[in-house]
């Protein structure tokens, strides 16, 4: 596995690379970092992919974003485009979860024609019923108004890990999620609450696979289904007993992801034939 600090969008950014083959860019959830993909990265690389796991600006081992904590997922999408270009990835797949899924969808909307496809987990293209209020999140940014943050992240994570996940695994996920910068995670959540690419969904020019766990209290399955319905080539999978973090919750997630990527690749080839 190769670890590098790359200058992306003016931020020294931490990027892990493993394997050879088609590029797969993996994007983490709000406030978290690439460690969420630690089990997936090597397993997927062994299956013939060049797997890139990056820490978004302000997360993990990446330096903070130059303009302060990011409140707009479009900024992260721009950062991802620079990363894809810098690594010279040819028609890569993008896989993201939660805000990472939102960013993946924004990338698909921007440059779907240059992507192999997108796996969008625990995310949708926008909702009429935003789960969080931007005003409330703004108050959370004032430290003195946001007590017991670490405990709330811990118990909040436990509440959205699926019922099929063994207790020890759920505990590990929740404990690791305590490692966050609340300023960064809350700003991420403002980005999530204001994320809305519904107008652009019909123009997405790559196949998309939307994935949602039926124990995910953050995401309404109906919003995911309506997002899928608005995209010309989209599939939707509902994972039983899984919550908001499929790549952390499922032991053999890489196997499942490979199936989805194979399917995206087939559909992508089909699309290219249609256009030639």
């Amino acid at each position: 596995m190769k670890a590098e600090y790359l200058d992306i969008g003016g931020t020294r950014s931490f990027v892990l690379e493993e394997g050879q083959g088609r590029g797969v860019l993996c994007l983490h959830t709000a406030g978290q970092n690439g460690v969420q993909w630690r089990d997936t990265q090597s397993a997927l690389a062994a299956r013939g992919y060049r797997v890139i796991v990056a820490d978004l600006p302000g997360h993990g081992r990446s330096e903070p974003a130059a303009g302060g904590p990011v409140r707009d997922l479009a900024e992260y999408a721009t950062w991802c485009e620079e990363l894809i270009d810098l690594l010279d990835l040819d028609r890569p797949f993008v896989v993201g979860c939660s805000i990472g899924g939102g960013i993946a969808l924004q990338l698909a909307a921007r440059r779907g024609g240059r992507l192999g496809g997108a796996v969008v987990m625990a995310a949708h293209g926008g909702s009429d019923v935003p789960g969080m209020s931007v005003r409330g999140l703004g108050r959370e940014l004032v430290d003195a108004a946001a007590p017991s943050r670490s405990d709330r992240t811990y118990f909040g994570t436990r509440a959205v890990v699926g019922r099929s996940v063994p207790a020890a695994r759920a505990e590990l996920i929740a404990r690791m999620h305590r490692r966050e910068d609340p300023q960064v995670s809350t700003s991420d959540l403002i980005g999530w609450a204001t994320h809305d690419v519904r107008a652009a969904l019909p123009t997405i020019a790559c196949p998309v696979h939307l994935v949602v766990g039926d124990d995910d209290l953050w995401v309404d399955v109906r919003d995911v289904r309506s997002t899928a319905a608005a995209i010309s080539d989209a599939q939707c999978s509902v994972l039983e007993g899984v919550g908001h973090y499929p790549m952390e919750e499922l032991e053999d997630f890489a196997v499942l992801l490979q199936e989805w990527l194979d399917d995206l690749a087939l559909r992508s080839i089909g699309r290219q034939r249609e256009h030639t």
Partner: protein, 296 residues
């Protein structure tokens, strides 16, 4: 066997127990008959409704009244002496031809001071054939007891939100490290509201100085939910307090800051309430689904 020996007594309605039974369809004839009996012959119920196919609306009180018929059909009314307070929400329309199911959860059980009977509180959820909730109700009844004994001690764990329950919980909280640590630097009063009833816990540095319905100062915050939510939380299979707060089942008044500050203390409090309910009841922690009488 004497007739009065059959059917559930007060002691059989354990808090947390869930009853389900046969579905009921409201035909045009039944709705027309109810219009005659009640005198509510409004066109909405007798001629046309506001649906695309124009089916008239079933009277809301007919569906309520039919709950008591369902209750009787299940054999649950044998020892009911009186019906008490009944509050009913008409959540979504029910049309002629719709089929509903009733689900009744026992949310409270309190033996009367004479010991010969007890008052049980029930939450009733009514769903239509599409599994959509169309009515929700809370209703209590006086039910004869099998034995006139003072079993308050053994029933304590599920006697929320009585003061006796609060005292038993307070005792557990003072012995629970997760609670005393989380409140080790705290000075305030936690209020828990069950439906219309609030019970207070005066906490100072991990100790519960007093509990009951009144304290010299107002509560720092009051955490409130329906009896149904508390019952499911305290008697259900897992402590899913956080998930229930995320789904909007709880409301908070007073200091939101102090409520958030006590996040882990409240999880610990629920853990202790669940343990109290478990050891204080012979019934399993999981709600029991009773089979309808005559159901195959």
């Amino acid at each position: 066997m004497d007739d009065t020996d059959s059917g559930p007594y007060f002691e059989d309605f354990d808090v947390g127990r869930v009853f389900t039974g046969a579905a009921r369809t409201f035909s045009a004839d039944v709705v027309a008959a109810f219009a005659e009996i009640s005198g509510d012959r409004a066109a909405l119920h007798t001629e046309y409704g506001r649906t695309r196919d124009g089916r008239p609306l079933v009277h809301g009180p007919l569906v309520l009244a039919s709950f008591f018929g369902w209750h009787h059909d299940l054999g649950l009314s044998t020892h009911v002496e009186a019906a008490f307070g009944t509050e009913w929400d008409f959540v979504a329309p029910i049309h002629v031809g719709d089929t509903v199911t009733y689900e009744m959860t026992v949310t409270r059980a309190r033996r009367t001071s004479g010991l010969r009977s007890g008052v049980i509180g029930r939450h009733v959820t009514v769903r239509n054939q599409h599994d959509q909730v169309v009515q929700e109700g809370r209703t209590s009844a006086l039910v004869t007891a099998r034995h006139a004994v003072d079993d308050g001690e053994t029933r304590l764990g599920r006697s929320f939100p009585t003061t006796a329950w609060a005292h038993a919980l307070a005792e557990r909280l003072e012995a629970a490290a997760a609670f005393t640590t989380a409140t080790g630097e705290w000075d305030g009063t936690i209020g828990l509201r069950f439906g219309d009833d609030t019970v207070l816990f005066r906490v100072y540095r991990g100790r519960v100085l007093e509990c009951g319905t009144r304290t010299p100062h107002a509560p720092t915050f009051v955490l409130g939910a329906t009896d149904l939510t508390w019952t499911r939380l305290i008697t259900g299979p897992v402590n899913d307090f956080t998930g229930r707060t995320m789904r909007g089942e709880f409301s908070v008044c007073g200091s939101g800051y102090e409520y958030l500050r006590l996040t882990s203390a409240l999880v610990a409090l629920v853990d202790e309430a669940r343990e109290l309910a478990r050891i204080g009841s012979a019934a399993p922690a999981n709600p029991v689904r009773a089979r309808a009488v005559g159901e195959v």
